[in-house]
């Protein structure tokens, strides 16, 4: 494929999200706004009952910013559509129509996914602008924007690997549930890593979902070299693992695929 083809796939992905305006409104307003107000209420209550130095890591304002960032990242790094698309292709036999076209299924999904993510990147930019205008650290903002962008590629790998499970499953629901729970719990959407018990810290720090959800948010709040190095190493290791796993699983799945009947 060539660059115009990639761009066209991105455009198609963008249009397909734009067409489904009800989903867009649900995602951007309800699914982001409601959890934020819940967190807002909880943390205001928690901070009112405790002196600031009793709570580790973050002030109340920083906690609010953390939740705004992770909720926006949670919507951005959402592979729901990708998993449903692959599942539909597999179960309804649409994969056959794509396999006879001169395109790579992995690349096809990557560029459609990038297109689908464009509108969800706007809240990230709005948060970045808000932090800049409220006198935040420019390095943190730039790191947040860059990490969010680079992590889209990793998020795609993770989602694509999960979506391949639909070659073996009759419905994608289990995979979708798994993805949502993992991103919410070990990704750090529900609770910042610092608030988890010590014995769970290794899991919370080194799981792949942290890279796409809480990692950029932590950098926005406390930009430092150690965090960049930690996230960079995690990115390289998990990227390599996911890449190999995707290649292996896809090859195995294609050999197993017998089409959806005649």
């Amino acid at each position: 494929m060539n660059s115009p083809a990639y761009l066209q796939l991105v455009r198609t992905g963008l249009l397909s999200v734009y067409r489904d305006r009800s989903m867009l409104i649900t995602d951007l307003l309800i699914a982001t706004g409601v959890p934020f107000f819940i967190q807002f209420a909880i943390w205001r209550f928690v901070y009112e009952g405790a002196s600031a130095d009793q709570l580790p890591q973050y002030s109340l304002e920083e906690t609010y910013l953390y939740y705004v960032a992770v909720l926006a990242l949670n919507r951005l790094n959402n592979t729901y559509d990708l998993i449903v698309r692959v599942s539909t292709h597999v179960h309804e036999g649409q994969l056959e129509g794509i396999f006879v076209k001169p395109l790579n299924y992995f690349t096809y999904n990557l560029f459609v996914f990038l297109g689908e993510s464009i509108l969800y990147y706007i809240p990230i930019l709005l948060i970045a602008m808000f932090v800049i205008f409220s006198g935040g650290d420019l390095v943190g903002v730039l790191g947040f924007i860059t990490l969010s962008l680079v992590n889209l590629l990793f998020c795609f790998l993770l989602g694509f690997l999960l979506s391949l499970s639909t070659f073996w499953l009759t419905r994608p629901d289990m995979t979708l549930g798994f993805q949502v729970i993992m991103a919410s719990v070990i990704g750090g959407t529900l609770l910042p890593i610092a608030y988890w018990p010590d014995y769970l810290q290794p899991l919370m720090r080194y799981n792949p979902f942290r890279l796409i959800i809480s990692g950029p948010a932590e950098f926005l709040l406390r930009p430092n070299v150690d965090l960049v190095l930690e996230l960079g190493c995690l990115y390289i290791i998990w990227f390599a693992i996911m890449w190999v796993a995707c290649k292996f699983t896809f090859k195995h799945a294609c050999n197993r695929y017998s089409g959806a009947g005649g």
């Binding site: 083809a5 455009r11 397909s16 056959e96 129509g97 396999f99 006879v100 076209k101 001169p102 089409g259």
Partner: protein, 336 residues
């Protein structure tokens, strides 16, 4: 003459997970799954020359779609050699995929919620079609298939016929040398079928497009194909020209039997059926309350007329149509 498709000793075997009964068997299947083999294609050999239009006929589950998927590169054969346009399809080389088109009548490769034009524009870039060629071919296809009012509508709003014609448009835009059509007219009205057949015949004449067509509507095969391959239970039962096939079919006629006096009732028809049992190689096509229809070899017609010349029955000899002949073939094979 170079061959477009070359198949040698192709076999395809699927392994299906065994169905279980009871909890213990289910647990055992979960831990250590066992599979049952299903032979979809057995020792398939045939060649298709360049520019040919081949109709691929067979009953449900005969192996038609499996073979089309192997020819397109979607599936690999269990054994045997497959060459299509000089390529091994299972490698899915881009050069090969640029030279073929494939329409699966009941599966879509268009974006469901987006206008047809968006899908066409996307595949224009994927196939690297030049702007001039794209405009020319799109205009020709939309005019011929009556799609000009359709291509700006979302795919989900199209009728089945419109969607299949859009699929055909998508798969012909890059001007392939060979197009695979897997039941393209299933569920379509007569007008849509006519438009598709007419356009395929036009493309064959105009750009020497080769066609490999499977259909349960034998009108498609009769209208578009010069050659036919008949498959049953994964085995090729006939491979030749439509002319050869019609010569075989012309050996039979259709014999319509009815009572001259309808008041005589069904008992007389039953008596006729009993009497016909002496002939081994005839088959009953239609068993109605007031009439019977048989497929009869031409050589037996005189003998039958001699048997029933007492004026009780009206015997009408009609030429066998293509569809009835094929049905009879399938019936005779299924009893083997």
């Amino acid at each position: 003459m170079s061959n477009l498709i070359d198949l040698t000793a192709v076999n395809k075997c699927y392994f299906l997970a065994r169905e279980t009964v009871g909890l213990a068997a289910w647990c055992k299947q979960l831990v250590k799954p066992s599979y049952e083999p299903y032979q979809a294609l057995a020792d398939v050999n045939f060649t298709v020359p360049k520019g040919a239009a081949v109709g691929f006929i067979g009953p449900n589950g005969a192996g038609k779609s499996s073979l089309i998927k192997i020819l397109c590169g979607i599936q690999k054969p269990t054994s045997g050699t497959v060459r299509v346009l000089g390529h091994n399809p299972s490698l899915r080389e881009k050069g090969f995929l640029h030279r073929i088109g494939a329409v699966f009548g009941h599966k879509t490769s268009l974006w469901w919620d987006l206008p047809v034009k968006t899908s066409l524009d996307t595949y224009k870039e994927i196939y690297k079609i030049k702007d001039v060629d794209y405009r020319k071919r799109l205009s020709e296809l939309t005019d011929s298939l009556n799609l000009s009012k359709v291509i700006h509508k979302p795919v989900r709003n199209l009728s089945l016929g419109e969607r299949v014609k859009c699929e055909l448009t998508l798969n012909l835009l890059h001007s392939p040398e060979l197009i695979f059509l897997d039941e393209p007219t299933v569920g379509l009205d007569v007008t849509s079928k006519y438009e598709i057949r007419k356009y395929l015949n036009y493309k064959r004449k105009e750009s020497n497009l080769s066609v490999f067509l499977t259909s349960h509507d034998l009108g498609d095969i009769e209208s578009c194909c010069d050659d036919a391959i008949i498959i049953d239970k994964g085995r090729i039962r006939f491979d030749g020209s439509m002319r050869d096939l019609s010569i075989i079919f012309k050996a039979n006629i259709k014999l319509n039997v009815s009572l001259q006096d309808l008041t005589l009732g069904e008992a007389r028809l039953l008596r006729f059926k009993e009497a016909m049992k002496v002939f081994g190689n005839i088959s009953l096509i239609n068993d109605g309350p007031t009439n019977l229809t048989y497929l009869v070899p031409k050589v037996l017609v005189g003998e039958i007329f001699d048997m029933f010349n007492d004026g009780t029955y009206d015997l009408e000899v009609l030429p066998m149509d293509f569809e009835n002949n094929v049905v009879n073939l399938f019936k005779s094979w299924s009893s083997e």
